[in-house]
Symmetry: C2
Subunit: 151 residues, 2 copies
DNA sequence: GGTCCAGTTAGAATCATTCCAATTCTAATT
DNA sequence: AATTAGAATTGGAATGATTCTAACTGGACC
């Protein structure tokens, strides 16, 4: 079945929400926008379920599958990041500034930590020749201040 | 087991195998020992299933549940490390030297990279005051030399 | 008004583990 | 050698997180 001429993107309706990020023009449906807004307003690195809960107050009929779809779309288009600190649920993060994650092993809290100075992994580790680096994920595990002072 | 089989000497089998690691005295059953040996002989960061396959050639009746139990025991006793590079299966690693993981996003290969110079995360990131760091996991994602030269 | 299509949906299926109850093994004690 | 308590091991069931699937919807273009 030969494809006909490419259809112009939907416009002048709910589907025409767009957001220019990092030079890319990402089409945002209302649901994607809600999911993105919820995540952008969160600093606690919510899971897909957390996001579902929060989005439901504004879009009561959204399904978990849609939340996953939206998160996937937003992730592949670089608007958000998926975070894997331990096995189990993935967490999501709309902080696109360079940062690393501190994970408290006692209370499970995740805190963004921003660089104090420039960091280039190739300076510190001997990577095989020819290796191309696209991103680095640093997770720092330990005990947060609150938990440390309790014990 | 045939009744005529003479009982093996207590010292050569059974629960009395031990391994001193990092000052700890870790009791190793034959299965734990097999799992550890298989992992120590691997450089490809195998999954629990991979390990099951490899151990089976020496201990044909071992079960997946036992492999998971052994991996858990070895992990909590610090003989091996569990690695989470992406969601899905956990991988395991018996390299206890300080190192980070390079993950090729094209072929999935995982390569250990050792430090070229000293590295202290607290120097590079502003962690909240009072934070206690127990370990850091750095994953470097990109394309390995082999995959990079193919494209 | 019909067709197309991306987006959406509920529910089924899958995957990786984790749990569980039953069995077997080991070490210490009789 | 027999007894026993506790640890290790087992297959299978259960769980939890995600991914898949097939049907449905609503607007865009004819």
């Amino acid at each position: 079945m030969p494809p006909s001429t490419p259809r112009a993107p939907a416009k002048a309706s709910g589907l025409d929400c767009r957001l220019a990020v990092l030079g890319a023009d990402v089409r945002l449906t209302p649901h994607r926008r809600e999911v993105f807004d919820v995540l952008a307003a969160s600093t606690d690195h919510p899971t897909a379920y957390d996001i579902l809960d929060r989005v439901k107050s504004r879009a009561p009929h959204i399904s978990l599958a849609t939340v996953y779809n939206c998160l996937e779309h937003l992730t592949t288009h670089g608007l958000i990041k998926q975070v894997h600190l331990e096995r189990g649920q993935s967490r999501y993060c709309a902080n696109l500034h360079e940062h690393v994650h501190f994970h408290c092993e006692t209370c499970g809290k995740v805190i963004d930590a921003h660089p104090a100075t420039d960091f280039d992994p190739a300076k510190f580790w001997n990577l095989p020749k020819g290796t191309r680096v696209t991103r680095t994920d640093l997770a720092i595990h330990g005990t947060c201040d609150a938990c440390a002072s309790k014990s």
